[in-house]
Symmetry: C2
Subunit: 485 residues, 2 copies
């Protein structure tokens, strides 16, 4: 294991100060052009050296005819050339003194025997010139904190805390938009492709030391270095959570993965055991992978698995209770002391069991602050699951009851939603216990946007929230185990 | 079983031509007012008779001091009064000749022995006057096709095909907004509350005969009339799909449901067996309940469980293959004939296994029309799962490659997305095989809106799509069984 991030073979790839770019041109019909456009659109502050046989400038960057002509050996070469000229280009880069490369080009091992021979040659060149290579057959790296993005989709999402190592390039590029919907973004995301040289384990080691990365996400179709993976995961997981989605579990998934990157998948149970032993939290889908990252990256860890559910509707309460039960969480009864504190806030029709069901919110501020505060202050409650419902019509009506006229109520309602979201989010910080929201509001509604903006994870439906809570509990267990051992 | 919808005790509740309204006033602080406001906001075309002790008009409707003063016996009484005066009011309604009531008021059986006594009295009155009663402790009915909505949240969603019977009022009101996000809406939704008289079985029988209802959704915390439920479901399911989410399965869910509506839940396995025997498709969450309704209400039924996956990214393909495998679906190999037809459309880097992985879309029209057409024309493929990815930047670039300038490309890109969405959606109609989309686009993006608008179900993530496909297969099995028996 490396002990500082600078030692990582990925360091100068994810933090390249200068890049040679092979395959970009002024024609929009070449893929390389799109990659360079993404880099440019992201505001990359480093030096870019397009290498092009005929052009003097490429996308306004001064171009060079041959890599030998570059004024320096840049940190990184990005190669998006036809397969047959990749190895020659790599060799020229090596001679020039370039020590890092992203090979985007496909057509290697994943394409059968001829491709495998090309990949063997690529590896020989890499060893000869001591080059660190990501790929081939990948999309490279996106590090929003350095405005680096070698993929073909511009990253319009925020700088974030999710470190991703992915055996699928799509699950880098197509998550820019997806994650931004939750206010999330990547710290750094690697598309590892065929992993000819650097693999998912190298990425984990890099991300473990990356200061922007709070949680490591893995998309896995097959692990090549099982032993190294276990060692790395075991060393990292007590300090930084690792979440993995393994898509090779079923026979169908295995066969699809094989034709994708040529990775050999193992039986589902094998991976399950590996993950458990190494302290890796397993997700069952891509959606769940990032659900788990969201809570692990934002919420304090719970002391135990006791959940208290707060709702003002019986159905969502029952559904959440059921989802918690299925996820292996427990719902303790509230103490007499807590019941007494809650009494003033619960209408006669309400229920002060667990779930705490208000039936309706007498006062939305109570729902967003006073009640959850009481619930979090009860020693035995480790996690609060809260059902978020703030229909603008209902908030406006409540304001009108307080004497506002129609126009003022319409103006004040969004402000009230913002206030409430902030109040609730403030509690996980002051009480140091996780709060997870669930809701059926559309993601584009004001209340959802505000709650997320204020830092609370909120999921559509109770089961995603309960499973995310379980991921927190599971990771708290990983931490505890490591302290004990 | 009833044989015409007019025979249903719910008919004049869900299709009331006139309503007496108890508990609404001109004060925004009473819940009844909100219910009447919802009804009004929905444009209810029938006659409304607010009954109020002192006001001459209520929300601009002419008000009556006592039910005895009404000029006729309206179809329905909606009662949102304090618990203690509900039964007297009901009795007065009975005497007046009103034969149908929605009792929204809570505080009955769900509140212990005193409440149970009140509920027994309510039932006695109902029997004496031959009244059909929904509730108490419910939100009543929403029938967008008749502009009826007795709940406290205005329904701004469309008229739809999902018929819901719910043991939670929230799962009526809070689904207006949720469903509208997918272009879906209710045909009619019933919140059954304590089911003192009419229960979920009555709702199923009504919805079975409702011409607007294509699929029946059930939210269940506990079934009271097991035998009747089985009989009704067995009779209905061969003709109209029934999907159920049962929230009482885990110990925690059971206990929460009990305190909510006083329904006694049974063991999970019992419900599982009942559902299977009666041809009811079981959903594992509210999200899944409506996912299943969506595909069952829009897609033709598959002949078998063979799925072909189309993608232009390896990761989503592998994840979808895995999800299909876990859902019990199979991915057949493509025939030589189909492979030959596909060849012109697949780039060298692509893979023509199953998943069909284009690696990138050479031409988006091929992806949305020519390729899925070939895949659906292959006899053995029963269902098409298609990964939808149309980033506006990439579409615009493709247009620029075709010679459009920047401005024209930006103008044409959304039109192209609309065209593609229509082409793909046209195929499920012409080929009579289900197409299910999956994507990681944000729900508010143009491509998602368009695909949904054109009638295709599209889910975030492969696992929801695969499980929805499995629901179609399961329901096709229910149909087949009924034909054979």
């Amino acid at each position: 294991m490396i002990t500082s991030i600078e030692e990582s073979p990925l360091y100068r790839i994810a933090n390249a100060r200068s890049m040679a770019f092979f395959g970009a041109s002024n024609s929009i019909s070449s893929m390389g052009t799109h990659l360079l456009l993404s880099l440019k659109a992201g505001g990359y502050p480093g030096v870019v050296y397009p290498v092009h046989r005929t052009e003097d400038t490429v996308l306004d960057f001064k171009a060079y005819r041959r890599v030998e002509d570059l004024p320096e050996a840049p940190d990184l070469a990005v190669i998006v050339l036809p397969t047959r000229i990749v190895n020659d280009t790599l060799e020229a880069c090596g001679k020039k003194g370039i020590r890092n490369a992203v090979v985007v080009t496909a057509g290697f091992r994943e394409m059968g025997a001829d491709g495998a021979a090309l990949e063997a040659e690529l590896k020989r060149i890499a060893r000869t010139y001591h080059m660190n290579i990501v790929g081939p057959n990948c999309l490279g790296v996106a590090n929003p904190h350095r405005h680096i993005n070698t993929t073909f989709i511009p990253n319009e999402g925020p700088q974030g805390f999710v470190g991703l190592a992915s055996q699928s390039g799509s699950f880098v590029t197509q998550m820019f938009e997806y994650l931004s919907g939750f206010g999330l973004g990547f710290s750094t995301a690697f598309s590892v492709g065929n992993e000819a040289m650097l693999d998912i384990v190298d990425c984990m080691e890099y991300l473990a030391l990356c200061p922007h990365t709070k949680v490591i996400a893995l998309y896995i179709e097959g692990i090549r270095r099982g032993r190294a993976f276990m060692d790395a995961a075991r060393a990292i997981s007590p300090h930084k959570p690792i979440v993995a989605f393994y898509a090779g579990g079923s026979a169908a998934g295995k066969s699809a993965g094989l034709s994708h990157t040529g990775a050999l998948a193992g039986p589902d149970e094998l991976y399950d055991g590996m993950f458990r032993q190494a302290g890796v939290i397993r997700a069952q889908s891509m959606v769940e992978l990032f659900d788990f990252c969201w809570v692990l990256g934002t919420m304090p860890l719970p002391k135990g698995k006791s959940v208290v559910i707060q709702t003002h509707s019986g159905g969502p309460g029952a559904a959440a209770a059921d989802a918690c039960g299925r996820a292996g969480l427990v719902l303790p009864k509230l103490s007499p002391d807590t019941l007494e504190k809650l009494a003033p806030f619960i209408p006669a029709t309400g229920s002060v069991g667990n779930p705490v069901d208000l039936t309706f919110a007498k006062d939305y501020s109570d729902f967003y602050y006073k009640i959850p505060k009481i619930l979090l202050e009860e020693e035995q409650n480790d996690i609060l699951l809260v059902y978020l419902l703030s229909p603008p019509q209902v908030i406006e009506r409540a304001l009108r009851q307080m004497g506002y006229d129609e126009k003022m109520a319409a103006e004040q309602a969004p402000k009230l939603v913002e206030l409430h979201a902030g109040q609730l989010a403030g509690l996980f910080q002051s009480k140091k216990k996780p709060i997870i929201g669930f809701s059926f509001h559309r993601p584009d509604t004001h209340v959802m946007e505000q709650v997320i903006l204020k830092g609370l994870p909120v999921f559509q439906g109770a089961d995603r929230a309960a499973r995310a809570a379980k991921a927190l509990v599971a990771y708290a267990g990983v931490r505890l185990r490591s302290v004990k051992s």
